[in-house]
């Protein structure tokens, strides 16, 4: 038993987090920063944070993740990190030559009260930022929110530092895709293209964190959202923000800053959320939905009906990030599954309300917790067993101990491939999710079937 010390009896804990279902803000900010073309994320704090974030993103994507650090030592912690950041900005532009640096804080620089706005301003005034290049920033203390909040704050930082309203609308729609995989960003772009919307998507990590192997290494691949496109986001006719937790703040900031109206939607995971996304796209674009999209939707419906018997009534435990889990819960309910335990580590009571609302009247009681941990999830499972666990790589310990099928979903996934390349968003993503769920459920059925019941055809 890997988690041999986890008791079935649940006691409320007020201070000890065991097996977290979240991590800290800066890693989200680093991921978001990588979605800008020619951007080097920079961690303002001691160098361990940067090393940890780079390692974790690298393990998840199996791709180079370059990011610099202010390398604080005790002196900087006492006297402030201004000198370190100024020196870093100068060195980064001379040695690595990025187009843009996206600086985020850590708990260290936040606690000592470094003011990024002032330091970056000083760097510009002192000529440390070459002409035409930019330094953007976000405040991401690790003791507030989670990695999702950090992602959201850096996307908001992009808007705050870059977006400008010239007074003339450019006819484009901004799409803020939220914390999804590079493959999902690609898929969202594909769908928007099919609908015929003229759009700017930011951030965009497709091609950055699922790039090719060619024999050449480019620290800044020819991918990501160009800074000038984010600047022009201030002239867009509207913004579709996907995900209340990871995208809404940026969209609302853009509205306040540049008068670009916004709509906040769920991440387009599953049938209904994808429907709403496409419906919103066709409304903003003033187009009708092409048959190709209807065809893909029909395929998804077809698979649901073909395999409904295997989904129906199955109990599922979920752990992950709020926006992802809200959309996933809705999809599982569409399949007539029962997401009975739902945990996110990211704080926010709205999450619990939303999950309860989705599950209301579906014939089962849902255990839901925001700011929970995976130890609690495991205890819930011990008290009420499930047929399936969906969550990140760390779920495999629970899955093995309790002998429950596990579908990897969310962040980080360190021990499987696919999440970088195959989307879970859109109708095609829905089919992929079902394929993964069916794969583990039917493998289990085959493994456990008595010989006389071991059948070739389902």
């Amino acid at each position: 038993m890997l988690l041999r010390h986890t008791p079935t009896e649940i006691k409320e804990r007020s201070a000890l987090n065991i097996n977290p279902a979240k991590t800290c803000q800066p890693i989200g900010a680093m991921y978001a920063g990588l979605g800008i073309k020619g951007c080097l994320p920079h961690s303002h704090g001691s160098q361990g944070c940067c090393a940890y974030h780079r390692s974790t993103l690298t393990r998840h994507y199996k791709e180079p993740v370059s990011a610099a650090t202010s390398s604080f030592t005790e002196g900087a912690s006492v006297f402030g990190g201004q000198a370190n950041l100024l020196q870093a900005i100068e060195n980064i532009f001379s040695v690595y030559e990025p187009e843009i640096i996206a600086v985020h804080t850590t708990c260290l620089s936040e606690t000592i009260g470094d003011d990024l706005n002032q330091i970056v301003d000083k760097a510009v005034k002192e000529g440390k930022v070459p002409a035409g290049k930019q330094v953007i920033f976000a405040s991401t203390p690790s003791y507030v929110g989670s990695h999702v909040t950090g992602f959201s704050n850096m996307v908001k930082g992009m808007v705050k530092c870059l977006a400008v309203a010239s007074g003339k609308k450019n006819g484009k729609v901004n799409i803020i895709p939220g914390w999804v995989e590079p493959a999902d960003m690609e898929e969202i772009k594909r769908i928007a293209g099919m609908i015929g919307v003229s759009f700017t998507m930011f951030p965009d990590t497709s091609g950055v964190l699922n790039g090719p192997l060619t024999g050449e290494y480019h620290m800044f691949p020819d991918a990501g959202t160009p800074a000038e496109d984010i600047r022009a986001a201030g002239d867009a006719i509207g913004t579709l923000a996907l995900g209340e937790w990871c995208s809404a703040d940026a969209a609302r900031t853009l509205d306040a800053q540049c008068k670009v109206p916004c709509r906040v939607l769920d991440l387009p995971i599953g049938l209904k959320a994808t429907d709403r996304f496409i419906d919103a796209l066709r409304t903003v674009a003033g187009t009708s939905v092409p048959d190709t999209v209807n065809f893909e939707r029909g395929q998804l419906i077809d698979v649901i009906s073909d395999y409904h018997q295997y989904f129906f009534g199955k109990k599922v435990a979920l752990v992950g990030d709020p926006d992802q889990l809200i959309a996933l819960t809705e999809f599982l309910l569409t399949l007539d599954m029962q997401p009975v335990h739902v945990v996110t580590g990211t704080p926010g009571k709205k999450f619990e309300a939303r999950i309860r609302e989705l599950c209301a009247g579906k014939g089962f009681d849902v255990n839901v917790r925001a700011a929970g941990d995976m130890f609690l999830l495991h205890q819930w499972i011990k008290n009420e067993p499930v047929d399936l666990i969906m969550g990140n790589t760390y779920c495999k310990y629970i899955a093995r101990d309790e002998d429950i099928p596990h579908v990897r979903f969310g962040f980080p996934i360190m021990d499987r491939v696919g999440h970088q390349y195959f989307p879970v968003t859109g109708y095609k993503g829905g089919i992929r999710l079902m394929e993964k769920i069916l794969g583990v459920l039917l493998d289990r059925a085959d493994r456990d079937a008595p010989e006389e019941k071991f059948e070739l055809v389902y």
Binding site: N17, T56, T58, Y96, C107
Partner: protein, 544 residues
């Protein structure tokens, strides 16, 4: 036949090239950390600047003090509840990511390694102080798990807001009656992970070593220091030592337990693997308990044999000396067979190693056994003695960053100090050429006209590969994929790319096979599509 290595550009030119793009100040500093090796009189080497601050903005391979303390040293111990006091990130990132394996003997034995414990500090804890939350967390951990010991690790903000974790530890130790101790291992201390190793080792030495006098039985009792059981290395060492009849009292800290540390003072010899992370513990154990120490290396089959012989020679017992020879004779045929298989593919090839604080040295032995040459190497967090040998220790300047790390004063223990060897024995061993507490360092072993680079960074790594095109590059996960994008196979030596073990005899065979796989892998020759290999279109298909 002399080994033929492919010709490489002049190292002086390479060095110049590495420095060219830097701003003057950075170039001046890096010039002292990028050294052309030049070995004179067998062991005199140039001075290298090491253990100094990383320049802000430079993409370093280094981590932090917390990572060195909690992740590296305490990470591999299975029965201590390790609570990270801080925001959630540090605890999360040090959760099951170092591949320290452990084998709890029974279903009922304690094993907390798959758990991550954190106080998950929130902004109100930063404003009002986190001690109350830490006390509550320790109580909750105790109520839920009833461990024999709890360790507390400070993260950056804890030091800044001034939480007294040591006072909390003392208070809770008294209240709960189990051993509770704390580590002031805030990430900003020191210049690399190395400071964290030091802080961890000092506290383990102070709070745990010598706590248990229950006699440990065994004829030839040793401790293995500086072995962390990545990918099962310690399991292989345990197998080999047991086969020789040597009793392993403790390993610091791979596959270890609290009791192993607490009884470590009963061993008769300390064998030091990773010199960087733990040489001072060996020193302190000698002063306090009278246990002599020697440097060993179990990476490489020949090195393993040599280290076993050294241990046997120390004990000087014919029974052990004979047994060790028997074991070596039993283990070596498989090693030779493996070498015969891989050498046609590896001989003459080149490697670069940039890892840790001893691995970049130790793994050169394996490459040498395969007929490969290390053309550039360096450490992430070493000090000068790791490069140049212990003889330079008195000349190392202690700067402000190192002074922040506590040096503990040790005196002989009034009851437990026992000299393990008589003066005559020591004299005889010295006459036989036996050396205690010595480490000659990486550079004397490397050939002249190779590059030794401390704290390599992303820019220099890219340039090195471009200019010297090694056949294999060894580093960590952060470096892996940029190297591979350039078409060079990269071997992780911190996590072994989820392979291993590579220590001892079986480990050597694993490593040879792995390197053969890397240097013969077809994928590197498939990088270009046919139309890229031959872009000029000279004819078109005629379909009809």
């Amino acid at each position: 036949m002399a080994l033929k290595h492919k010709s490489i550009p002049d190292v002086a030119t390479v060095k110049e090239e590495l420095l060219k793009k830097y701003p003057t100040k950075v170039a001046r500093k890096r010039a002292k950390q990028i050294v052309i090796n030049d070995v004179k009189d067998g062991d005199v080497v140039p001075e290298v600047q090491a253990n100094v601050r990383t320049t802000p903005g430079i993409i370093t391979m280094r981590g932090c003090t917390y990572a060195g303390c909690k992740g590296v040293i305490l990470g591999p111990t299975r029965d201590i509840v390790n609570i990270t006091h801080g925001p959630i990130g540090c605890g999360f990132y040090s959760w099951l990511t170092r591949r320290n394996q452990t084998k709890a003997p029974l279903e009922s034995s304690e094993n907390f390694m798959p758990y991550a414990f954190s106080t998950d500090m929130q902004d109100e804890d930063i404003i009002f102080g986190g001690e109350k939350k830490l006390i509550a967390a320790i109580q909750e951990a105790y109520d839920t798990f009833h461990p024999k010991a709890i360790a507390i690790f400070a993260t950056c903000p804890v030091g800044l807001i001034g939480d007294d974790i040591h006072a909390v530890a003392r208070k809770m130790k008294e209240k709960l009656g189990i051993n509770i101790f704390a580590f002031s291992c805030e990430g900003y201390k020191g210049v690399s992970q190395s400071a964290g190793h030091h802080i961890a080792n000092n506290q383990i030495f102070t709070h745990v070593v010598g706590e248990d006098d229950t006699p440990k039985l065994g004829e030839y009792k040793i401790n293995m220091l500086g072995e962390y059981n990545i990918g099962g290395d310690a399991f292989e060492l345990e197998r080999v030592l047991e086969k020789c009849g040597i009793t392993l009292v403790s390993t610091f800290s791979g596959n270890s337990t609290y009791e192993h540390f607490a009884t470590a003072h009963q061993a008769d010899l300390n064998a030091v693997m990773c010199h960087r992370s733990i040489n001072y513990v060996a020193e302190m154990m000698e002063t306090k308990y009278g246990i002599p120490w020697i440097k060993v290396n179990f990476i490489g089959a020949e090195s393993s044999a040599k280290s076993l012989r050294k241990i046997a020679q120390y004990f000087g017992d014919k029974k052990l000396i004979d047994r060790v020879e028997e074991v070596i004779a039993e283990e070596m045929p498989a090693v030779h067979a493996a070498l015969e298989d891989v050498k046609p593919f590896t001989e003459g090839k080149t490697a670069m190693l940039f890892v840790g604080g001893s691995r970049a040295h130790h793994y050169q032995d394996l490459f040498t056994e395969m007929g490969m040459k290390t053309i550039a190497a360096g450490y992430e967090f070493a000090h000068r003695d790791d490069y140049e040998g212990r003889k330079v220790m008195p000349t190392i300047k202690v700067d402000a960053d190192s002074r922040n790390i506590e040096e503990i004063e040790v005196a002989p223990d009034s009851t437990r100090f026992v000299p393990r060897k008589s003066d005559e024995d020591l004299k005889r061993l010295a006459e036989e050429g036996f050396t205690f507490k010595d480490y000659e360092g990486m550079m004397p072993q490397m050939e002249s006209n190779t590059l030794v680079i401390d704290d390599l960074n992303q820019y220099e790594a890219d340039k090195l590969i471009e200019l010297l095109k090694p056949d294999v590059f060894c580093a960590g996960i952060k470096e892996k994929f940029s190297v591979q994008k350039m078409g060079v196979p990269m071997k992780q030596l911190h996590s072994y790319d989820y392979g291993g073990p590579y220590a001892g005899f079986k480990g050597a065979v694993n490593f040879y096979t792995e390197i053969k796989r890397l240097v013969t892998s077809k994928v590197w020759s498939d990088l270009k599509a046919p139309w890229e290999e031959n872009p000029e279109l000279s004819a078109t298909y005629v379909w009809e």
